[in-house]
């Protein structure tokens, strides 16, 4: 045992609660997500497998069947905006799952007994998940050249902004669920059940126009659709396409016959994110 008590350290005084203290707590929780993500290289790799699989294997394979349907546009290029959303979707869900792990491994309690607001912890967690997911998104943005999409600054920034927002909303959703669902197995089952329907209905893999009514309705109520559509608009605005092809592949989100503007779509994602965050904070602020 090393009893080194030569120079006594003055008693630490824990400061009173303050805005600065809360901001520091958010930063701490956020930082922890980043430290954990970047120390887990395997996770970075595995979470990229699925987007790449969809883009290159499915995109290449199916293009033999659909070359007529895309009006000469490579199917990979058509799928690319959806893949930009997908990269974020999967990683953000995985980040949200980490709060369930935190509960199972006990670390959540360390955060919950700290003299900070629960909202700081939830916000830090969501910000961390969003950052990590957006990082994965950047990797997918980086391969734009491989599918014939130019690296225009407004495209990169616009897509990145929407990815960040989408990542935050999905993490908030996951964190909200994790307040109730306390076991990893149940949480996994739930996300598995939700992710693919959300993804397929969003119009990430097919144009959301000229759908049968039931599918069109489901597409309109899928929150993910409001992130996929603006990403596609931004990407397609940098492609040179015949007007007829553009109309078929990038008809855009409509309510009735009204084409929903991009800003409103982004607003829908942001509003859903804000509501989910508020519910998550309320759930975590409860005590037994």
């Amino acid at each position: 045992m090393t009893a080194v008590q030569t120079a006594p350290v003055p008693r630490i005084r824990v400061p009173r609660r303050s805005v600065a203290g809360e901001l520091r707590a958010i930063k701490i929780v956020w930082q922890r997500e980043l430290i954990r993500f970047f120390s887990d290289r395997l996770r970075i790799l595995t979470s990229l497998v699925q987007p790449f699989l969809f883009l290159f294997v499915l995109g290449t394979g199916l293009s033999q069947l659909t070359s007529g349907g895309t009006g000469g546009l490579s199917l990979r290029t058509f799928l690319y905006p959806g893949i930009l959303a997908m990269a974020v979707l999967f990683t953000a869900m995985a980040s949200a799952a980490s709060i369930v792990w935190d509960r199972e491994f006990g670390f959540l309690r360390e955060m919950l007994v700290a003299p900070v607001r629960r909202s700081s912890i939830v916000i830090g967690k969501c910000a961390g998940g969003a950052t990590v997911a957006a990082f994965q998104g950047v990797i997918v943005i980086a391969i734009a050249g491989l599918v014939g999409v130019p690296y225009a600054p407004d495209l990169v920034l616009g897509v990145f902004g929407i990815q960040l927002l989408l990542a935050f909303t999905i993490t908030a959703f996951g964190v909200m669920m994790s307040a109730r669902i306390k076991q990893m197995q149940s949480f996994m089952a739930l996300t598995q059940m939700l992710i693919l329907p959300l993804y397929f209905l969003s119009g990430a893999v097919f144009p959301a126009s000229n759908l049968p009514t039931w599918l069109a309705v489901l597409n309109r109520i899928d929150p993910l659709a409001y992130a996929v559509d603006p990403i596609r608009r931004i990407v397609f605005s940098h492609l040179t396409l015949a007007p007829a092809v553009r109309q078929r592949l990038d008809a855009g989100m409509t309510w009735g016959s009204w084409r929903v503007p991009t800003l409103l779509e982004v607003g829908v994602v942001a509003a859903i994110g804000a509501v989910l965050l508020a519910v998550a904070i309320a759930e975590f602020s409860k005590t037994d």
Partner: protein
């Protein structure tokens, strides 16, 4: 330092019909090492959770370090350190990263953090391992790191919930050596729970808990003296009959537990020859012992701690541990 560290008045917690803690009254003075002893399910952890502001009481009041646990939750949290039954470290981070994270959450001033970090890591003997990931630590090292982390922000009261559960005996005693050492180094009150009788003897005072109530509260010596008598255990072929005979011939109240007959008698060594001389049944083995805290528990409840656990939780200690593992 004689300020009151913990005070409770009729502190109660019920979950629906079930009363986990029933009207607890106790006072712990500053600087004391106070132990909560009792079987699993006695209400120890629920009490600690209430004092740490993780669970809201359904009745009564309590204060920790002079602050009300419901109305001044933040004040309480700033003044307590916590070591839970199950580890709450982040295994993917290093020991130092875990401590820095804690310091950040508690707002430990940056100018003092470096020295304090070194001090607590030295105290728990982990300075050399500060750069290692916690996942690579043994159970004992993790527990030491948690104790160090609990001390980092100089709390007034350190709560240790079963600080040595699941550790081997050697590690358990080394954890106790660290706890005793930190009592010397820090001006601190320690409030701990345990279901190990031998560990409770390290405390200045002990409250014995059963079914959500304190059934005895005193120093370990006084508690043992209150039993007064020595414990005699005998092994016979017919325990039922032996109990009846002990009552009939010697006026002794005996109980059967764990396959043997136990009773308390003054000057046990001297009683044994008399017993052998006059007892009609063959006695296969006999054991005389000075009263332990286990006997204190038994003299108040009529059962051993192990029996109490078997009936209280309807499951053994092992399944309890498994259950806890999942619930975390």
């Amino acid at each position: 330092m004689t300020r009151t560290a913990v005070a409770t008045t009729r502190l109660t917690k019920s979950y629906g019909e079930f009363e986990a803690v029933r009207g607890l009254d106790l006072t712990v003075e500053g600087g004391e090492t106070f132990g909560f002893l009792g079987p699993n399910g006695a209400g120890k952890s629920t009490t600690i959770s209430m004092l740490c502001t993780l669970v809201t009481p359904t009745g009564g009041t309590a204060s920790v370090a002079g602050h009300d646990i419901v109305r001044e939750r933040d004040e309480v949290r700033r003044n307590i350190g916590l070591v839970f039954q199950d580890t709450t470290l982040d295994g993917y981070l290093t020991a130092e990263q875990n401590l820095r994270l804690h310091a950040g959450l508690y707002g430990v001033p940056k100018s003092e953090l470096g020295d304090r970090l070194r001090q607590v890591l030295d105290m728990v003997g982990l300075w050399d391992r500060r750069g290692s990931k916690v996942n690579t630590f043994s159970g004992g090292m993790k527990r030491r790191l948690e104790i160090g982390r609990g001390l980092l922000h100089s709390p007034r009261v350190l709560f240790l919930d079963e600080p040595t559960v699941g550790l081997d005996p050697q590690t358990r005693s080394s954890i106790w050596a660290y706890i005793r050492e930190l009592k010397q180094a820090e001006d601190i009150t320690i409030f701990l729970t345990t279901h190990y009788m031998d560990e409770a003897e390290n405390c200045d005072r002990i409250a014995i808990m059963d079914h959500g109530r304190i059934i005895a509260l005193d120093t370990p010596e006084a508690l043992k003296a209150s039993v007064g008598k020595d414990r005699v255990r005998i092994d016979t072929d017919d325990n039922e009959k032996a109990i009846a005979l002990l009552a009939e011939r010697f006026g002794l109240e005996a109980t059967a537990s764990e396959g043997a007959v136990t009773f308390f008698v003054e000057q046990g060594e001297k009683f044994v020859p008399t017993l052998f001389g006059e007892f009609p049944l063959p006695i296969r083995a006999v054991n005389v012992a000075r009263p332990s805290l286990d006997d204190v528990f038994m003299s108040y409840t009529g059962k051993t701690m192990r029996d109490a656990e078997a009936t209280a939780g309807q499951r053994g200690r092992d399944t309890m541990a498994k259950f806890r593992g999942v619930r975390r």
